[in-house]
Symmetry: C2
Subunit: 341 residues, 2 copies
């Protein structure tokens, strides 16, 4: 899922997302949209779909990750989290019920339970206590959510890097019977081996017939490993954020377009790619645009990187259907995260 934090996947139009990157679903951030422009305004505009003119699915997160990032500006109690806006210091309170109310106003197709997302590192004791609270919050959110026909509420599995806590979390949420399960609290600074170990650990525990969403992940290689571990959905700002700075994801690794060797390179980013950027523009031109901080440069690198991520996901899906995922994995995994020479 391309990330559209503030109601726009940065630099993209909805038409480009659909036609040039083949995006099927995008993500919006509950915390950010609540603060600006506000969920009440978005509700009046016909929900996020109407406000941003996007007629395909949208997922909104819970705000738990953003609130965790406000360390020093927030106080957590069993009732919820009282925090100060990172914009103007104003005070706000997120409870599980309040977050569902906001997400109902935003009107996304898939919404998240409010959770506490413990930092890394955190002691086992802290994570265990946090988890109990997050499970209570999941139940409270589920009770508060009535628009179940139009908005699928996922529970978020927490438990840090501790397998027994992850198992406890997953099973408790499965008892509550959510239509999908998110894996939160990873990609927050822990070693990658821990992330991979935990998605592999959760794979046989989670039900096969419901989607699993790994939040905030990751590089193309991260996707490939976690898909092998049973994950169905991802979101990450990397393809868009890195692209705007000139780090472009390709099937042969990351291209640092500012490198001098691309100065007079009149080939497209990827000669085999069919995206708008590769069909029309050279590395030399895109290098010039990125060097000049021109918006068109950011647009072209974003189009290519999203196109690549979504094509890679599509190829992975087809490989699973064809029962040849391991072969696919071993072809792409060594390539995609390297730096292109």
């Amino acid at each position: 899922m391309p990330v559209g934090t503030l109601g726009t996947v940065k630099s993209m139009s909805p038409d480009e997302l659909k036609n040039d990157t083949q995006a099927q679903i995008i993500l919006g951030n509950t915390y950010h949209l609540y603060l600006r422009p506000g969920d009440q305004l978005i509700k009046k505009a016909g929900g996020l779909h109407g406000f941003i003119n996007w007629d395909r699915p949208i997922l909104t997160d819970s705000g738990g990750f953003q609130v965790m990032s406000l360390a020093g500006l927030r106080k957590i109690t069993r009732e919820g989290v009282r925090f100060q806006s990172h914009i103007d210091g104003s005070y706000h309170m997120f409870t599980p019920e309040k977050v569902i109310e906001i997400e109902n106003n935003l009107g996304a197709d898939i919404i998240m339970s409010f959770d506490e997302c413990p930092p890394f590192p955190a002691t086992r004791d802290y994570v265990a206590k946090s988890l109990k609270m997050t499970l209570e919050w999941a139940k409270r959110g589920k009770n508060a959510h009535h628009n179940t026909e139009k908005q699928a509420l996922f529970g978020i599995i927490q438990g840090g890097i501790y397998e027994d806590l992850r198992k406890e979390s997953a099973e408790a949420l499965m008892d509550m019977d959510f239509p999908g399960y998110s894996i939160g609290g990873l990609a927050v600074g822990e070693p990658k081996e821990d992330m991979f170990r935990l998605t592999e650990f959760l794979n046989p525990i989670l039900p096969a017939n419901k989607p699993r969403y790994l939040m905030g992940v990751g590089t193309p290689g991260d996707l490939l490993v976690n898909i092998r571990n049973g994950v169905d959905m991802f979101d990450c700002v990397m393809p868009t954020r890195n692209a705007r700075k000139g780090s472009i994801f390709t099937r042969n690794g990351k291209m640092i377009i500012k490198a001098a060797r691309y100065k007079e390179d009149f080939r497209p980013i990827d000669e085999e790619c069919t995206c708008y950027a590769c069909r029309n523009f050279s590395r030399a031109y895109i290098r010039h645009l990125i060097g000049m901080q021109e918006i068109l440069g950011m647009r072209l690198t974003t189009i290519h990187s999203l196109h690549f991520y979504l094509e890679l996901s599509q190829l992975a899906r087809q490989a699973i259907i064809d029962d040849r995922y391991e072969e696919f994995f071993h072809k792409y995994y060594p390539l995609v995260d390297q730096i292109m020479e």
Copy 2:
């Protein structure tokens, strides 16, 4: 002509320029492209058309205006102008011959003679001497230009706010028989009445069968007055630069989209407009995007403003053809430069 200083009309793709704004020709800046990425690189890429993937006409200016803006970093002699780059302080020399060589490398369809563009205010004596030099430079540039089949070289009329000097300049250039004539040295700080007075003054002097290009102008109202005074071509950064800051040009005046009254205004910028922004997005959404400095906001305001400018030009052209320009002028002139309430 939308302005594409560094080889991109800021925030736009070539396809948007063609399909969404109906741009027929764009402008590139010789001074900026010479410094970055360099005319030699652009020549290797197949000229500016190939480098930026634009298959419609391009006009390049002479660099005279930019060099004038380097006050303190440049020294003018009859030979040419020695100046320091505004980027890195490196030394460069523009002569009339060098500028033609650069413009030949860039390969635009319409190119400009190198000129000295006197500031405003300037004494009559200074302007008269400067004009003599610019006329010499025009002749030297014309002699240096050989690619006359593919690139039309215009002479630039100078002469400040002095009618007799303007006449002298125009007639001397007409004697050299250029395929078109540019009016330079206006919109540099003089009162608008002076600009209008001088284009009206030049109207009967210039030949009816050759295009007249007023450089660096202006607001929609400026266009309408100067079209009445016989001008055929304009370039200005206003529609694009102002749009990126949220000041949008419409047929009913300038819309300052950040104004609080647009916060919950779910109408398009202009309900009668057919541009991509107006067909798909609300004032409230665009206001949000511009407030958040989101690229999509700048893109949408730019599309609308360029669409409006180019539609206004098209309407003016049709009104001339239909012999009802005065009626057209009196309908639009009172509206277009006001601030929308």
